[in-house]
Amino acid sequence: MLNNRKFYISGFIASLFLAGVVSFYASSHPDGLEKVAEEIGFLETAKENTNAGVVFSDYGTKGVDNERASVGIAGVIGVLGTAVVAGVAFKLIARKPKDKKN
């Protein structure tokens, strides 16, 4: 049994490593939905996403040409961003109010 500290730190570091380093080696082929849409022919009904202009669009970092760094930075930012949003959300959800007020 790992203690809390070790368990959460190893899980977080594993996530950083996967998103920041291993992601470079991920398959760049279209995913199942995109491939099916392409083969059947409805891929062309896709519009450019309204959110396409975001900084890390398509898991790349704008202005970083090195592909390894570009996807790695995006992955690390994503892990940190998810950690902040999920961390705050679940902390609030789990809080048990001691008085009747929420």
Binding site: M1, L2, N4, F7, Y8, G11, F12, A14, S15, L18, A19, V22, S23, A26, S27, S28, H29, P30, D31, G32, L33, K35, V36, E39, I40, F42, T45, A46, K47, E48, N49, T50, N51, A52, G53, V54, V55, F56, S57, D58, Y59, V71, A74, G75, I77, G78, V79, G81, T82, A83, V85, A86, G87, A89, F90, K91, I93, A94, R95, K96
Partner: protein, 224 residues
């Protein structure tokens, strides 16, 4: 399986945004009663881990890749309510930071992955857990099968949305066959990743695993 803008018409997008909002609201209520200070950090880590692993597309067939959806994985680790919330957070981060999936389609994507993926995966996990021996080794196996089943079911759910309101006019049966066929293959990867991850967490901190604890409450087995 992140749906881009444009695939679905406005009406269908609105309907599924409403359904997803209702599902997330129910999940919020369930998670409030179930999560406590001890289990909340695992819900956060689960979201983080799923975000990371969703970046790792693996090849499944010629020119096609798939990635973990994580619904069954999250449900087994932290319970289905918190899992729905974790997956929804991942999808929100992906849409707003990475433009992965369109904003108008976010409700439909959330429905397929955070609701159908989680609850079908969890349901299949419960069924399999019931017939397997009541020991720790059964939990990753049941989780893997839950993961495997959840992916073609999420693909089926997309096909339903396509049938209700695709902007394209190709036949639904063509889309159904291709979607489910491809996602059965992706489901194998989902099952493997889910099984391996759950067995790693069971080995290091079985006391935190919802799908294990909740199996034993009635049996009063205590883990030191």
């Amino acid at each position: 399986m992140h749906i881009p803008d444009g695939f679905l018409d406005v009406q269908t997008s609105v309907i599924f945004t409403g359904l997803s909002a209702a599902g997330v609201a129910v999940a919020l209520k369930g998670a409030r009663t179930q999560l406590d200070e001890k289990t909340a950090p695992l819900a956060g880590l689960t979201a983080v881990f799923i975000f990371a692993v969703q970046m790792l597309n693996f090849p499944v067939a010629a020119g096609t890749s798939g990635h973990l959806l994580g619904g069954a994985l999250a449900a087994v680790l932290v319970g289905p309510w918190a899992a729905t919330l974790a997956l929804t957070i991942v999808l929100l981060v992906q849409a707003f930071l990475f433009a992965d999936g369109g904003l108008t389609a976010l409700g439909a994507s959330t429905f397929n992955m955070s609701i159908v993926g989680v609850w079908v995966g969890y349901g299949a996990f419960l069924l399999v857990r019931k017939i397997l021996p009541k020991n720790k080794a059964s939990i990753p196996v049941a989780a893997a099968i839950g993961g495997f089943v959840s992916v073609p079911m999420a693909a089926f759910s997309f096909t339903l949305q396509y049938a209700m309101g695709a902007t394209a006019t190709f036949s639904t049966s063509t889309v159904l066959g291709a979607m489910v066929g491809t996602h059965v293959l992706i489901g194998i990867g989902e099952g493997l990743i889910t099984g391996l991850t759950v067995s790693a967490v069971i080995a290091s901190r079985s006391d935190l695993v919802y799908g294990w604890k909740n199996n034993n409450q009635s049996l009063e087995i205590r883990n030191a």
